[in-house]
């Protein structure tokens, strides 16, 4: 028999091993991509796969010669930040009214908004494509910002709503009694009180927009194409070049990975929905 203390430390150990296992499993593809990006095309193809090889930068040089990385990166930055800013400007007031002025229909509205995420995007591809074509939004950053804002809005509202729900409404009422306008109440009391959660919301929206590939592939060609479209452009015409594809993918992921790494504390706290305080 194990004592209670021993059982506890065994538990901790098992949980640790499990957590590391999961983390490694999730991280492995990224690691492999990084590794492959430094291989020659021959090495990249080798069976069995090689863990040790002589690294080369030639893939990166090639990618850099063949395409204008900064052009795509800039597009990614503009559309993800653009859609996130506009999204937050819509999500905060929407979540505020739903969290603090609840009506009979609030729950239904929230569910309905979330349900729009259950529809496969391809189901509305044709109408949206045509709409974009007619309004001249095809292959524009504006078009992408609009579509990203719309697809992320339900999640952003839902998240902001959850955080706002945790804030006692008396504090906002106190602000109202103290003479604040609606804007002051939100800006000086509500937002500072929920900044952890809202930061997580912003981060999630940035990541989702940055990684979005379906709409960017279908609605852009070159002018407004973000990094996801750049990656895709390496996969088709001349057959698959694993090493180059990996290099370009690494380049595409790097900024958001670094950004996420820096802000992981906020993200973890925010995503646990206030459970950790």
């Amino acid at each position: 028999m194990l004592s209670l203390k021993q059982r506890r430390s065994l538990n901790t150990l098992l949980m640790g091993v499990l957590a590391w296992g999961v983390a490694l499993a999730i991280f492995f593809p990224i690691f492999w991509m990084l590794l492959t990006s430094f291989k020659t095309e021959i090495d990249a193809f080798a069976t069995p796969p090689q863990l040790f090889f002589s690294p080369t930068l030639e893939n990166y040089t090639l990618v850099n010669e063949r395409s204008d990385y900064l052009h795509f990166a800039w597009n990614s930055v503009v559309v993800s930040f653009g859609s996130t800013i506009i999204g937050m400007m819509l999500a905060v007031p929407a979540a505020y009214s739903m969290a603090f002025f609840e009506t009979k229909r609030t729950k239904g509205t929230l569910l309905w908004m979330l349900s729009t995420k259950m529809l496969p995007p391809v189901g509305v591809l044709v109408p949206i494509y045509l709409l974009f074509k007619d309004t001249g939004l095809l292959d524009t950053k504006t078009g992408l910002v609009i579509i990203y804002t719309l697809i992320n809005l339900p999640i952003m509202i839902w998240m902001a709503y959850t955080y706002f729900k945790e804030i006692p409404k008396e504090v906002l009422e106190a602000a109202r009694m103290d003479g604040s306008t609606l804007f002051q109440e939100i800006w000086r009391v509500l937002l500072p009180m929920s900044k952890g959660g809202l930061a997580a919301t912003v981060l999630l929206s940035l990541i989702l927009s940055w990684n979005e590939a379906f709409w960017s592939l279908n609605l852009t060609a070159s002018e407004a194409a973000p990094l996801t479209a750049l990656i895709a452009s390496y996969s088709s015409p001349e057959g698959l070049f694993w090493a180059k594809l990996s290099a370009v993918s690494t380049l595409a992921c790097a900024p958001i990975l670094i950004f996420g790494w820096i802000s992981q504390k906020q993200l973890v706290r925010g995503l646990s929905f206030g459970a950790v305080k």
Binding site: E173, A174, A175, R176, M177, D178, G179, Q184, R188, M193
Partner: protein, 367 residues
């Protein structure tokens, strides 16, 4: 100046009417306390005055100006919440200065007013702390400080002391009384603590199920409750009620036969009581004497006795199976099951008719 007038105020949540027509006058500098059982609408009434709830109909007037539909920010009232509702991200100083900043008061004035409030409430050493670094009593004081720096027309308090422990509650109660005296402010205070109501109020408003049962000074309500509800609500321990029937009436008195068969004759002047009318006699614990069983027609057995040191409260089962509470001196000795006689101070008893309304006392007796 701050005279608040409420006229026929009604408030419904959905189909349920919570406030059913409130009429109330609150004068300048008055300390008004709303009391009533849980769920009777005290907070709702206070929040309607604050502007935090939209009223369904009726009028609220502050100094003869209609404020019924004014935003809370425009009413010039300050509210202290039960949960304190401090801004968690601001220091104590900021919490108190927030309203003044919003009002675009100049910096020096703000700083003076905050220091003054901090001095009154002994918050000076805590000004740079965040609310989470304060104890409950300190938070409470910050909440009050936040209200007083603004010098509002009316202070609204919603059970501000209910989250404090007993000792602190007594202390804060005294501080509030002192504050009211020093600030000369109009205050409206919600509580269901009778002691707070009795000690703080100039005027007590007893609410029940969305209606005002009675308004008056604490002693008026205690001595001349308008009905059985008010009589039973105010007073600790509660007034005891003895049901009975009228057996004789004359111009200034009514004789009632109680369930136990005992008869009591009370001073009363009633036009609508008849012989045989069902009535209730109400008697407070301090208005009953314990005597030998042979000396009174009202007899019973001693049930539990609670000794509080200064007083002993005896619960007595009468022969008619009514329970009476009797206040005796702290050194009163009695045993469970003792047979005793009870003598009521008939001049201090209350008589209620079948509807529960108080039967008037003859005019020479009316206090």
């Amino acid at each position: 100046m701050a005279n608040l007038t409420i006229k026929n105020l009604k408030k419904s949540f959905g189909d349920i009417e919570i406030l059913k027509g409130i009429d109330l006058e609150i004068k300048d500098n008055e300390f008004v306390v709303f009391v009533g059982p849980s769920g009777c609408g005290k907070s709702t009434l206070l929040r309607s005055i604050a502007g935090l709830e939209d009223v369904t109909s009726g009028h609220i007037m502050l100094d003869h100006k209609e404020i019924t539909d004014l935003a809370p920010a425009k009413r010039d009232l300050a509210m202290v919440f039960q949960s304190y509702a401090l801004y968690p991200h601001m220091s104590v100083r900021k919490n108190m200065s927030f309203a003044l900043e919003l009002a675009k008061e100049n910096k020096e004035v703000i700083s003076t007013k905050v220091s003054e409030a901090a001095r009154i409430l002994e918050l000076e050493p805590l000004l740079e702390r965040k609310p989470k670094e304060l104890s409950g009593g300190q938070r409470q004081r910050v909440a009050i400080g936040r209200a007083i720096v603004r010098q509002p027309k009316v202070f609204l308090f919603d059970e501000p002391l209910s989250n404090l422990d007993a000792a602190l509650r007594v202390q804060m109660r005294l501080e509030l009384a002192r504050l009211h005296h020093d600030l000369n402010a109009t205050m409206i205070y919600v509580t269901h603590d009778q002691v707070e109501a009795m000690t703080l109020a100039d005027k007590v408003v007893v609410l029940n199920q969305g209606r005002i049962e009675q308004v008056g000074t604490p002693l008026e309500l205690y001595r001349n409750p308008a009905n059985r509800f008010v009589a039973g609500f105010l007073g600790m321990p509660k007034m005891s009620f003895l049901p009975g029937n009228v057996t004789a009436i004359d111009a200034s008195s009514v004789t009632v036969e109680l369930t136990s068969g005992a008869s009591v004759t009370l001073p009363a002047a009633s036009e609508h009581l008849r012989k045989g009318s069902a009535v209730t006699v109400g008697v407070r614990p301090e208005n009953i004497d314990v005597v030998e069983p042979s000396e009174s027609s009202l007899t019973g057995y001693m049930d539990i006795a609670e000794s509080l040191g200064s007083d002993t409260y005896c619960y007595v089962k009468t022969d008619g199976q009514e329970t009476l509470t009797v206040r005796m001196p702290g050194n009163f000795a009695c045993n469970y099951g003792d047979r005793i006689g009870l003598r009521l101070h008939v001049d201090e008893c209350h008589l209620f008719d079948e509807q529960g309304n108080a039967v008037q006392k003859p005019s020479r007796m009316a206090a």
